[in-house]
């Protein structure tokens, strides 16, 4: 009998039957671009799948080179790349897990001179100004999403997550802040969400029913000229109607002046934003941000804020989070303290992602802890500080 009955309840997500309500959320690790990186990613994900993670979403993979988060970041554009993806997929499947590939087009957030966007408006966090796509090029971008999803299916992934939040390309089309077009892709709300709808609809047609399709929807933009709640609801319904299997939550654009994931953000601070959509759609809803311990996840689910919780960094901190929670060993969980020091700070500095409290994260093949060949007597001499000038 588990202490967390809501977490350990199966969930049907499109074609996937998942053993629990926890999603390992998308993280770019920089292994995606490293020598031997996919082999190392396979170990990284497999270790987590082995310990009970039912569904993993990969780091963002771009549908074309201009959509990559930085110049040269991974884009899946042809079948010569399938072999490396299969290594990762097969490793996760061998452990009984499921793996969805995230398709992420950075739009005006792309840190490269080739960046494109709905309108030529520079992001406050990027030194490059995007070029506005013309109408034909918008069609081409959609075709690239579809090609990417089909390739992911050929590689054996169980589905894709289409990144529609955090201020990336799709989100840039949705909001007036970044979309000042006057063609069928801009202006009215119906026009601004057309890009998102067409992508989901055409991807679904291309991959068929037996392939999970998650859409990550920005439920609170936290920037001026972001979406209203009515627009979020209307978008969610429209995405549901064109064939998504689940909606994941996006909180805040990267340029928002509100912290959304650092340690000083309260635990589960944003889950009620997801809950506001629950009466509006029938799709499973996934909520996220600053959920790090089983009691937090359990409470979010028990309160009915969502059908599933997404955690990303907590699986850097402890690959065995699920097993420990299920076996009543939550006090053995190495908790994500949301410090960002070895994950996001590394990622943005071009270094490999790891974890302050778990240096093995993304170094599974190098930092190996095995039983000692010969047992030794070891003395560890701890803090001998003399910091008090005693009176």
């Amino acid at each position: 009998m588990t202490a967390y009955p809501h977490i350990f309840q199966p969930l049907q997500l499109g074609p996937l039957t998942l053993p629990n309500r926890v999603l390992m959320g998308s993280m770019h690790t920089n292994l995606e671009e490293s020598p031997n990186g996919f082999a190392r990613l396979a170990h990284f994900y497999a270790e987590r799948a082995r310990a009970g993670v039912g569904l993993i979403v990969t780091g963002g993979i771009a549908p074309n080179p201009e959509g990559a988060v930085f110049h040269g970041a991974n884009a899946l554009i042809d079948d010569s790349q399938l072999a490396e993806h299969r290594q990762v997929v097969d490793a996760v499947h061998r452990e009984g897990g499921h793996l969805c590939m995230q398709i992420l087009h950075a739009g005006r957030y792309a840190y490269s001179p080739e960046l494109v966007a709905p309108s030529a408006i520079q992001a406050p966090i990027n030194r490059f100004t995007p070029r506005a796509l013309d109408s034909d090029e918008v069609e081409q971008q959609i075709a690239d999403y579809v090609r990417c999803a089909r390739l992911a299916q050929q590689a054996g992934y169980d589905g894709v997550e289409i990144m529609g939040s955090e201020g990336y390309l799709i989100n840039q089309f949705i909001c007036q802040r970044t979309n000042q077009r006057d063609d069928q892709w801009g202006g009215s709300f119906e026009n601004r969400i057309r890009f998102a709808i067409e992508i989901v609809s055409r991807v679904r047609k291309a991959v068929g029913k037996n392939f999970a399709l998650i859409f990550r929807l920005s439920m609170i933009d936290l920037v001026e000229e972001g979406s209203t709640h009515e627009e979020v609801v209307a978008l969610a319904k429209a995405i549901e109607s064109v064939g998504a299997d689940a909606l994941n939550t996006g909180i805040g654009w990267h340029e928002a002046r509100v912290p959304t994931i650092v340690t000083s953000v309260p635990r589960a601070a944003f889950t009620q934003v997801t809950q506001k959509l629950r009466s509006e759609v029938t799709l499973p809803l996934i909520t996220t941000n600053r959920i790090n311990m089983p009691e937090v996840a359990e409470q979010v689910l028990a309160q009915g804020h969502a059908d599933m919780v997404s955690m990303a960094r907590p699986f850097l901190a402890d690959p065995e989070w699920i097993n420990k929670a299920e076996e009543g060993r939550a006090d053995e969980i190495n908790t994500c303290i949301a410090c960002n020091q070895a994950c996001l700070d590394h990622t943005f500095a071009g270094k490999l992602t790891s974890c302050l409290v778990n240096p093995r994260a993304c170094h599974e093949t190098e930092l190996v802890v095995t039983p000692a060949a010969k047992i030794r007597q070891v003395a560890v001499v701890g803090v001998a500080r003399r910091d008090l000038r005693q009176p």
Partner: protein
């Protein structure tokens, strides 16, 4: 922990009454409550792997010679000021200020604007631990979870500050420049919301009953503060190293004891794990 997990017989000598070292300071900073979890994790795992923990005990060289391996993780001590009046009663180390904030007066100068200076300032100005209260946090940052307006923003309500704090640094660069790339802006914004002022390019002259005398932009001035908290870096503690080497014991040094330049839990944990994985 990693050494014991591998089967080694590990004794952990700790001079203090509790484990955790610098983490015991971090966990007291508003907005860093999560650090308590790391301490809980290690407490549980050290017990699970049967590490022999000896608190309040300073390991002697005679004791240590009996071990096969000795790992020195003796950490750091705060660097003291070397100016006239550095021993004035208004001066506290960051360790003292964090442990006993009630000793810090209303008007405060924080010397040093690195990570610890920011943490100490945060502790001194905060009245409500907003990281533990979603509604208070939303008010502070201007977040409307009901999304009544586009984007879910509302006018932020800057919280009242518990103290008047000025942060100083010798360097002329922007204060907080070396904080984390994805977190530094949050710390800077938070202190600004609490009315903390920051002065870069300061020369510290002396401390007396009037306060802290500094030279800033070629002008000598006195900051009439009640308390001065020194966050001017730290020095490695490794007074055991010499005697152990003299006794012919092989020693591995990790963490702040090895390199104290910037307090770095990330490097300390990584080094500890690597050393233990290779024992």
């Amino acid at each position: 922990m990693t050494a014991a997990q591998r089967g080694h017989q590990v004794v952990l000598f700790e001079r203090q009454a509790e484990l955790g070292g610098q983490f015991n300071y971090a966990r007291k900073i508003p907005g860093k409550e999560e650090f308590n979890e790391t301490l809980r994790y290690y407490r549980v795992m050290l017990e699970k792997y049967a590490v022999d923990i000896r608190l309040n005990s300073k390991a002697s060289v005679e004791e240590l010679v009996t071990f096969d391996e000795v790992v020195l993780a003796t950490g750091v001590q705060p660097r003291q000021l070397a100016i006239p009046g550095a021993d004035h009663p208004s001066v506290l180390s960051y360790a003292e200020a964090i442990r006993e904030p009630q000793r810090v007066g209303h008007k405060v100068a924080v010397i040093g604007s690195g990570g610890i200076g920011f943490d100490v300032a945060e502790l001194l100005v905060n009245q409500v631990p907003t990281a533990l209260d979603i509604n208070a946090w939303c008010d502070e940052w201007g977040v409307d979870l009901e999304i009544n307006q586009a984007g879910g923003l509302k006018a932020p309500q800057h919280p009242a500050s518990a103290r008047e704090v000025v942060m100083l640094q010798r360097k002329t660069s922007k204060p907080g420049k070396n904080l984390g790339k994805t977190t530094g802006w949050v710390h800077r914004a938070s202190l600004k919301q609490h009315g903390v002022t920051m002065l870069a390019g300061c020369e510290y002259l002396q401390i007396d009953d009037q306060g802290l005398h500094i030279r800033h932009q070629d002008t000598v001035q006195v900051l009439a503060v009640d308390s001065i908290v020194v966050c001017a870096g730290q020095e490695s503690v490794r007074d055991l190293l010499g005697p152990l080497e003299k006794a012919g014991i092989r020693v591995q040094i990790i963490g702040g004891a090895e390199e104290a330049a910037e307090l770095d839990a990330k490097r300390a944990i990584e080094q500890g794990t690597q050393v233990a994985a290779a024992l």
